[in-house]
C-alpha cells in the first residue's frame, strides 16, 4: 500500500465518519418531522429555517445537562456502556462499499474502507458487540428498570440474530461470497438480490428492526413500562450517546440492507448512459444514499405506525415465526441451487 492510498483512505475515513454523524444527527430531525407529519402536526420549526438547526440545539442541550453518575453505579462500566454502543455503531461503516472505484490521476481508489473477505460476518460481529453496550450500561446502572431493559435487549438481540444470520446464509448461497464488495458487484444493473431472496429480505428487514431496538421492537427502552429501560439512569451526553447510537445504527442498517438486497451503489441502465467511470461512481454513490434514506424513512414510517409488541409476541414471532421461515428459506434456496447445478 503506497502513501497516496493511505492518505486517500484517511481522508475517506474522516468523510465517512462525518457523513455518518451528520446523517444520524439529521435523522433525529427527520424522525421528529416524520412523526409530526404522520400525526397531522408541523414538527420542529423554530430553530432556524424549517427548524433545521434543531439537532444542533438538541446536542447543545445534551452537553449543558448535568452529568449524573449514581452513587451505587459501577463507574467504569457506567462510562464504558455508552462508549461501546457508540463505537460499535460507528465501526460497521468500515466494510460498507459506499461507491465503486474513483480514478484520480493514474491511481484507482476503492470507495470502501476495507474490503474484508468476511464483510458480512464483520457486520454481524459489530452488531453483536453492540448489545454489550446496552447490557453493560443497564447492569452498571444498578437500577432494576435498567437491568430489565438490558436483559430484554440481550434476549431480543440473541433471538433475532439467529433469524438474521440464517437469512444471510440463504443470501450467501446465492452470492457465493461473504465479501460485501463482491456481493454488490454481482448485483450490477438490476440483478438485485431482493428479486432472488424476497423472503430472506423480509426476514432480514424484520430482524434489522429488532437489532436496532426500533419500534415495534423497542422493548429494551420502552418508556411506558421501563421508564427508558437501560438508559434510565443516564443523563447528559452519555444519554445522548445511547440515543445517537440508535440513529447511527439505523443509518448503518439501512446501508447494509441497501448493500445486501438492493444492489448498493448499482443502479439500472447506468451502462447505457456511457458516462466516464468517475461520474458513474458519483451517481452510484448518490443513488446508494437515496436507497439508504428510503430505508431510514421506512424505519420511521413503521415506528410511527405500529404500537410496541408484547414481550411474548416478540419471542413467539422470533422463535416460532422467523426462524422456521429462515430455515425454510435456506432449504428452498439450497434445493434450488442443488438441482440447477446438477444440470
Amino acid at each position: 500500500m503506497d502513501y497516496s492510498t493511505l492518505i486517500f483512505k484517511a481522508i475517506f475515513l474522516i468523510i465517512i465518519l462525518l457523513v455518518t454523524l451528520v446523517v444520524a444527527m439529521y435523522s433525529t430531525y427527520a424522525e421528529r418531522k416524520v412523526a409530526a407529519f404522520m400525526q397531522d402536526r408541523n414538527g420542529p420549526n423554530r430553530a432556524g429555517p424549517f427548524g433545521l438547526l434543531q439537532p444542533l440545539a438538541d446536542g447543545l442541550k445534551m452537553f449543558m445537562k448535568e452529568e449524573i453518575i449514581p452513587l451505587t453505579a459501577n463507574k467504569y462500566l457506567f462510562i464504558l456502556g455508552p462508549s461501546i454502543a457508540m463505537t460499535t455503531a460507528l465501526l460497521t461503516g468500515v466494510v460498507i462499499p459506499w461507491g465503486d472505484t474513483l480514478t484520480i490521476g493514474d491511481h484507482v481508489y476503492s470507495l470502501q474502507m476495507a474490503d474484508l473477505n468476511i464483510g458480512i460476518l464483520y457486520v454481524f460481529a459489530m452488531v453483536s458487540i453492540g448489545v454489550y453496550g446496552i447490557m453493560i450500561g443497564g447492569w452498571a446502572s444498578n437500577n432494576k428498570y435498567a437491568l430489565l431493559g438490558a436483559i430484554r435487549a440481550a434476549s431480543q438481540m440473541i433471538s433475532y440474530e439467529l433469524a438474521m444470520g440464517m437469512s444471510i446464509i440463504a443470501l450467501v448461497l446465492t452470492t457465493g461470497s461473504l465479501s460485501l464488495h463482491d456481493i454488490v458487484s454481482q448485483q450490477h444493473g438490476m440483478h438485485w438480490n431482493i428479486f432472488y431472496q424476497p423472503l430472506g429480505f423480509f426476514i432480514f428487514l424484520t430482524c434489522a428492526f429488532a437489532e436496532t431496538n426500533r419500534a415495534p421492537f423497542d422493548l429494551p427502552e420502552c418508556e411506558t413500562e421501563l421508564i427508558g429501560g437501560y438508559h434510565t439512569e443516564y443523563s447528559s451526553m452519555k444519554l445522548g450517546f445511547y440515543l445517537f447510537a440508535e440513529y447511527v445504527n439505523m443509518f448503518i442498517s439501512s446501508a447494509v440492507i441497501a448493500t445486501l438486497y438492493f444492489g448498493g451503489y448499482n443502479m439500472p441502465f447506468i451502462d447505457q448512459l456511457g458516462l466516464s467511470s468517475n461520474a458513474v461512481t458519483f451517481i452510484g454513490m448518490g443513488f446508494f444514499f437515496i436507497k439508504i434514506f428510503a430505508f431510514i424513512f421506512l424505519f420511521m414510517w413503521i415506528r410511527w405506525t405500529l404500537p410496541r409488541f408484547r414481550y411474548d409476541q416478540l419471542m413467539n414471532m422470533g422463535w416460532k415465526g422467523l426462524i422456521p421461515l429462515a430455515i425454510f428459506n435456506i432449504l428452498a434456496t439450497g434445493t434450488y441451487y442443488f438441482f440447477t447445478s446438477l444440470k
Binding site: 404522520m38 400525526q39 414510517w301 405506525t305
Partner: protein, 189 residues
Amino acid sequence: MEKLTNRSVVASDKKMTFMERIYVPAILKGMSITITHFFKKKTTINYPEEKREFSKVYRGQHVLKRDDEGRERCTACGLCAVACPAEAITMVAAERKPGEEHLYREEKYAAIYEINMLRCIFCGDCEDACPKEAIFLTDRIVASEYKRKPFVYGKDILVEPMDLRVDISARQTSAVHDFKKNKAFAHNR
C-alpha cells in the same frame, strides 16, 4: 342500551385468524393510513404568527370600562367580588372628591381593584353581576409571566385607556340589552 356512537366495537379475545397472526396485512394497512396522513393538511397552526379566529363571545382578560365621557363606570359595589366563584376579585372603595367628577361617574369608586388572573376561571359571572356595566371579559389573552405576582392585575392594566377603548359590543348580548332598556336602571345609561 342505546349506543352513544356507531363507532364502538365489542371487545373479544377470539383466536386470531392466520392472516391476523402473520401481522403483515395489518401492518401494511396501518402504514397506508399513516402515509395518507403524511400528506394531509396539518391541523396545527404556527401560533404567534397565525391566530385562530376567536368565538364571538370568547371570555378572556377583563376590562374595566369607561363611559362615553371617559369616566370610570365602576362604583366599587363589590357585587362582582361576591359573584366570583373563584374569589379572584378584591377592591378598596373610596369617595369621589369634588373636582373629580370627570374621573369617576359615581360618588363612590374603586381606588384599588385587583383581579388575580391565576385564580380566575373566566366564567364571566363578574360581568353578569355588575349593575353598572363596568366590567367585561374581552377576547384578549392573558399574557404569561415568570412569577406569580404580576398575575394580580391592578387598575393600571384593567381600566381601559382613554385613547385605546376596548370594543365589548360582542359581549353585550340580548340579555344585556334588555337590562339596559329596563326603566328601573335608567340611571345607568
